[in-house]
Every structure is written in C-alpha cells, then in structure tokens.
C-alpha cells in the first residue's frame, strides 16, 4: 500500500519535472505505433484480399479440340508433373456455352443466333493457394502454352503480378516500420529517463544513503516506461482506428472498395501491439538504470 503510494508520488514528480520531453516521447511512441500499425493493417487486409482473389484465380488453357478421355489423362499428368495444383477441370464447348449464357442472365437472348459450340473447350487449373505458386504463374503459363493442342493461356497476368509485388513491398515496409518502432521506443524512452535520472542525481545519491532499496529507486522509472508504452500505443492505435473509419466512410461510395470488406485489427492483434510496445518501453527504461543507477 505505502509502497505504491510512494512509487506513484515519485512517478508524479518525475513526470512533472520533465513533462516536456515526456510528451515528446509519448508523441514519438504514438507516431511509431501509428506508422507501423497503419502499414501492418494495409498488409493484413491485402493478404485477405489475396486469399479472396485466389479463390477464383485460375489459369485457363484454351484448346483447339475437345480432348478425348485418354488425352485428358495425359494432359492431367503433364500439368501435375510441372507443379502441384489444387484442381484441374476440363470444360467442354457445351459447358462453356452454358456458363456464358448463365453469366449473361437476362440478356441471354443475344446468344440465340449463335451456334452452341462457338466457344473453345478449355482446361481450368486452380493453383495451390500460396504465394510461391502465385509468383510462378508466369513460368507455369509458359509451360501450359506448350501443351499439345493449346491455343492460348489466360489469367489475370498483370493484375496478379502487380498485386503480389505490392504485397511483397508492403511486407518490407511493415518490417522497416516495425524496426523503426522498436528503435524509437527504446531510444526515446531511454533518453527521457536518462534525462530524469541526470536531473535527480542529488536525490538519487541521498536516497541510496538513507537506505532506499533498488526497487524503491527503480520502480518509478520502470513504471514511467510502462506508462509511455501503454499510453503511446493506445493513442497510436486509437488514431489509426479513427483514420480507418474516416477512410471507410469517405470512400464507401466507389465500387472498388465495396468489393470486399476492410477490417480493423482483431482485439488479439491490438492487444499484442500494446503489450509489445509496453515491453519495449519498459526495456527502454531499464537500460539507462543499469548505467546510471548502480548501487
């Protein structure tokens, strides 16, 4: 009881004495958390988007002729010998026509004059849903183009490539901003606590002389780091949440963003970010104590 009373009062004194740099640190921590969390949020949403795209992402090989079952078997083997795939489907002329008609819906009348076999038969290949096979799309499609009887290979080439370059770039940015977060929190917190400690040399000397234990002297500083981490990361996440909702509201009209639901961090992820920030800041406050508070 008295322990926490004394510790909290000491903490209050520390904060009052160096409130300027305390505020700066808080801001820096918030900003680093905001930057990191922003990119991380974009990244996670991109991954979900990628998953969803992957669901209907397939390579289509258009064929000259409908393959006989024997040839189908052979093609199947050839394709699987190149790479594992999720699924291989053979689509006949008739099936292709049906699908197209279904897609047209009410406008299917336009097809009434067309022969039922005007669409070429094809093979649909659904690749495994992982980044590696998605990155190999280009090589894979070149291979498929050389299959006997293949007319043309189609997939959302540019689109897929750009998308995955972008996610890879994002993952690098996430890593960089994560490093930035770690460095700024540790160094800024260490710096302000160093300031506080240097500003109270006389008092710390005296405290040691009158028999203050290490815990008595250190706890306020550790608590200071803890608070910086807690408040800084909470502010950072809160501002990101506000920003997130603003963007959602602002761009809810355009079709592109409506294609799929953007989501904020789950409570677990938010909690993890806060806990990690607290750990980092507490670590930051521990470092100068080792150096300046030797007893």
């Amino acid at each position: 009881m008295s322990f926490w009373f004394t510790v909290l009062r000491q903490l209050g004194r520390n904060l009052r004495q160096t409130w300027g740099s305390q505020l700066m640190t808080l801001l820096t921590v918030s900003l680093s958390v905001l930057i990191f969390a922003f990119f991380y949020l974009v990244y996670t949403n991109m991954l979900t988007l990628g998953d969803k795209l992957g669901d209907d992402l397939s390579l289509i090989v258009y064929l000259e002729e409908e393959p006989e079952p024997e040839l189908q078997e052979q093609l199947n083997r050839k394709i699987r010998s190149f790479d594992e795939v999720e699924e291989i489907r053979f689509v006949s002329r008739a099936e292709a026509y049906e699908r197209f008609a279904a897609q047209l819906g009410e406008n299917r009348d336009v097809l009434s004059d067309m022969p039922k076999d005007f669409l070429p038969p094809s093979i649909e290949i659904v690749p495994l849903k992982n980044l590696r096979s998605l990155n190999q799309m280009k090589v894979f499609s070149a291979y498929l183009a050389r299959l006997p009887g293949s007319l043309k290979v189609q997939y959302g080439q540019d689109w897929v490539e750009r998308f995955y370059y972008f996610t890879r770039l994002l993952s690098i940015i996430v890593l960089l901003s994560g490093t930035l977060l770690i460095l700024t929190t540790i160094f800024m917190v260490a710096y302000t606590i160093r300031l506080t400690i240097l500003g109270r040399q006389a008092e710390l000397e005296l405290l040691k002389l009158v028999g203050a234990t290490n815990n008595y002297i250190r706890t306020p500083y550790l608590l200071e780091g803890f608070l910086q981490g807690l408040l800084g990361s909470s502010f950072g996440l809160c501002s990101l949440f506000v920003l997130f909702n603003w963007i959602k509201l602002r761009f809810s009209g355009p079709v592109l963003l409506n294609l799929f639901e953007f989501s904020f961090f789950s409570p677990t992820v938010s909690g993890t970010i806060i806990v990690v920030s607290i750990l980092l800041c507490t670590l930051g406050s521990y470092a100068p104590m080792q150096k300046f508070l030797r007893i």
Binding site: S2, A202, V210, G211, T213
Partner: protein, 233 residues
C-alpha cells in the same frame, strides 16, 4: 553506564584505516567499540578525521583497511537489499547537510521514513512533532534552499532521527546555532538516546561535551588519542 558496557557492541571498528587518493591519510588504525544505547562524542580539530569516521560507519565510504561491524554485520560486505536495510537503521546528519534544496522542509524530513514505506499519516505526524521540538514549526512548507544555515542544520538532524534509527550519527550538529537552539538540539539527541538509540556525535564545540558523563574520544590527525594522556598532557 555499566549496563551499556555489558550489552554487545553496536559499532565495532578494528584497526580501521582510510586513505583518500592520492595519499591523504584521514584515519590510521582506529579501533573502537561503541555499545548499544551508548552516547559517544568524537572530538578533534578540523581535519582530524571525524567526518571520515562517521562516513565509514554509515558505509558512505569504504575503509582502506580494517573491519567495521554494525550490529554484528560487516556493513561493507553487505550488498543490495541487505545494505539498504541496514542503512535504514542508521540516521546521519551530514556536516554538509545533503538537503534537497528544491523541496520543502517536510518533504526533506519525510524521505528517511518513506524509504522504509512508513504510512503517510504516520510520517506527517512525526514530521510535525520533530519540527515542533526543533523550533521549526513555521518552516513546514518552506523550501529548504531558502532557509538559514542554522535552520538547514536542524532539518538535517530531523531527517536523521525521523525514522527512529538504531544508530544516529551527527556531524557538527551545533556549528551554526545559538546557545538556546544548541540546547534544544542536545535535548532532542538525549531523548533519542534515552529511548534506545546509539548516538555518535562528532564535534569541535566543547560546550556540548564539557560536562557530559558520556564517553569522549579525541581524534588527532587520524589517530585516536588516549583520553588519560590528554588530561596529563
């Protein structure tokens, strides 16, 4: 004083020497035993080594040679928590005060009680009572940096005894005080001693030890002088 001589020593120095770098010998082979509950005067000219002796006893300085035991424990070999706990039981009124000059009188005195987590209301009561006894009642909320030296000296003393330590070390307690205030200070120290504290007073003010029944030892350039020799010399 027979009772005290039979109880185990509170402070025990065995052939203690202290040399400051590069080659200032402040104490030379001082052996000394102070009983629990004793009041003890260390006298000597300026530079004789009185302050050094007190600093060694409270473990602010380490001896170059020899052994110091406080309540049976070798204080300089204690580490961390144990040393801190022992220091909490030693109250020191430093010759240079060591006050936090940007804090109030009350805050300065409270520090020695706060480190052993005394209850805030207990601290408040004790601080008021001490200020009363030292004629500083109106200085409760004054910033110590703005007090006179005599007042600062008494605040230092109050801080030293606030936590009711087992050992009270006082360095020149009356240097800046008039006769009446000196008497107040000595009364307070006697009171502490009567309630069980071992009190060591370093001074060159002969008015406070002239008529005393307690032990008086003189330091002369770092050595203890036999009091009998002193009389005959």
């Amino acid at each position: 004083m027979n009772r005290q001589l039979h109880s185990p020593p509170m402070i025990e120095l065995i052939k203690v020497s202290k040399q400051y770098p590069p080659d200032v010998v402040a104490l030379k082979e001082v052996s000394l035993s102070i009983a629990t509950g004793e009041m003890f005067f260390v006298i000597g000219r300026s530079g004789a080594g009185k302050t050094t002796l007190l600093k060694l006893i409270c473990s602010m300085e380490t001896p170059s040679n020899g052994l110091i035991e406080i309540a049976g424990q070798p204080i300089h070999q204690l580490k961390g928590r144990h040393r801190a706990k022992l220091r909490q039981r030693i109250g020191v009124a430093y010759q240079d005060f060591k006050l936090l000059i940007d804090r109030t009188t009350a805050e300065n005195i409270a520090i020695s009680m706060e480190v052993s987590y005394k209850k805030p209301q207990l601290i408040r009561k004790r601080v008021r009572s001490l200020l009363e006894q030292l004629d500083l009642a109106d200085k409760h909320d004054s910033i110590t940096g703005e007090l006179s030296r005599g007042e600062q000296q008494r605040v230092t003393l109050a801080r030293a005894i606030a936590n009711s330590p087992a050992i009270i070390l006082v360095d020149e307690p009356t240097g800046n005080l008039d006769a009446a205030t000196t008497e107040r200070v000595m009364n307070l120290l006697h009171k502490c001693n009567k309630s069980g504290a071992t009190v060591v007073i370093a001074t060159h003010d002969d008015s406070i030890y002239r008529d005393t029944s307690h032990r008086v030892l003189e330091l002369r350039t770092g050595r203890l002088v036999n009091p009998v020799e002193e009389v005959s010399g």
